[in-house]
Symmetry: C2
Subunit: 145 residues, 2 copies
DNA sequence: TACACTATTTATAAAGATTATTATTTAATA
DNA sequence: TATTAAATAATAATCTTTATAAATAGTGTA
């Protein structure tokens, strides 16, 4: 979104010894300005005009790099494509059963659940994921006809 | 697990107009007696001895049937294979980062989260999913060397 | 029990997402 | 500018799941 975050991200990449290629820059920029958690293919198609020769593998490679450095998060849902989220602050997602739209929402991190799970199972807990499902306002309206 | 549950499941199938074929019976039985949320491929391989000519599609077809009737739940994790859980009572899963083992644990359903998400986003919430990740006791021990 | 009807199975191909491979190109640094 | 390791492009391969069509087999009925 903001130019500041983009500059910070570029600095993080540089300090990690990652080269800033035009394709890499474009993928990162698209992610930063995107509000809808795009898939790898959506990114690929969006940049097709600017980079007619770009390979899908390049998109995946760069997403992997960003993941490793912690610039983006991967959202995986079953057999469908992964989606990528450059907002790495603490938040959860609510997903529309009808159109698949993903919306962010905030909620105090569920530390209790982690603690209870740890006690009951003996696991050494690292993190958790939570998604809420439902029907978004748009789909509620269209189905009202 | 118990014979009673198996009989109930068969009755549910019959009353839904679903035929009880040997393959279907075997897949259901394997799921019922399985404690580790198997993948479609694991079920397929496990029944290979008994049904040398069985097709993978048959396993998927039957799992789909069981899903539709509500006898099993599908657990999807990114690009890896889906896993199937015949325990349809309210519970969550904790997953080992190291070996992938899935263990059940109970926790009061997170109604508050659903309510808050509904208020904040305007969605009409249907359900949620939550998974906790960590290292299981076995993997904690083996890594201690 | 035999028949008929339709669901189910099998075998195979196909789709779709992601990864692997390798030759070519290019960014960063001296 | 030259060098070198990293990144890209093009392609093939892998893996899970679904689609298709012909063959098989359950189940109700005569």
């Amino acid at each position: 979104m903001s130019e500041v975050r983009m500059q910070e991200a570029l600095a993080t990449l540089k300090s990690s010894g990652v080269r800033i290629t035009p394709q890499r820059h474009a993928v990162l920029e698209y992610l930063m300005h995107s509000m809808n958690h795009p898939t790898a293919d959506e990114i690929y198609k969006a940049l097709e005009g600017k980079f007619p020769n770009m390979s899908v593998a390049t998109v995946y490679n760069n997403l992997r790099v960003f993941l490793d450095i912690g610039l983006v998060r991967e959202l995986t849902y079953g057999d469908a494509s992964s989606r990528f989220d450059c907002n790495t602050t603490d938040h959860y997602h609510i997903i529309c059963n009808s159109c698949g739209k993903i919306v962010d929402f905030h909620y105090p991190a569920l530390d209790e659940v982690e603690q209870l799970a740890e006690q009951v199972t003996g696991f050494n807990v690292s993190h958790h994921r939570l998604e809420v499902y439902g029907t978004c306002t748009d789909c509620q309206n269209t189905s009202r006809h």
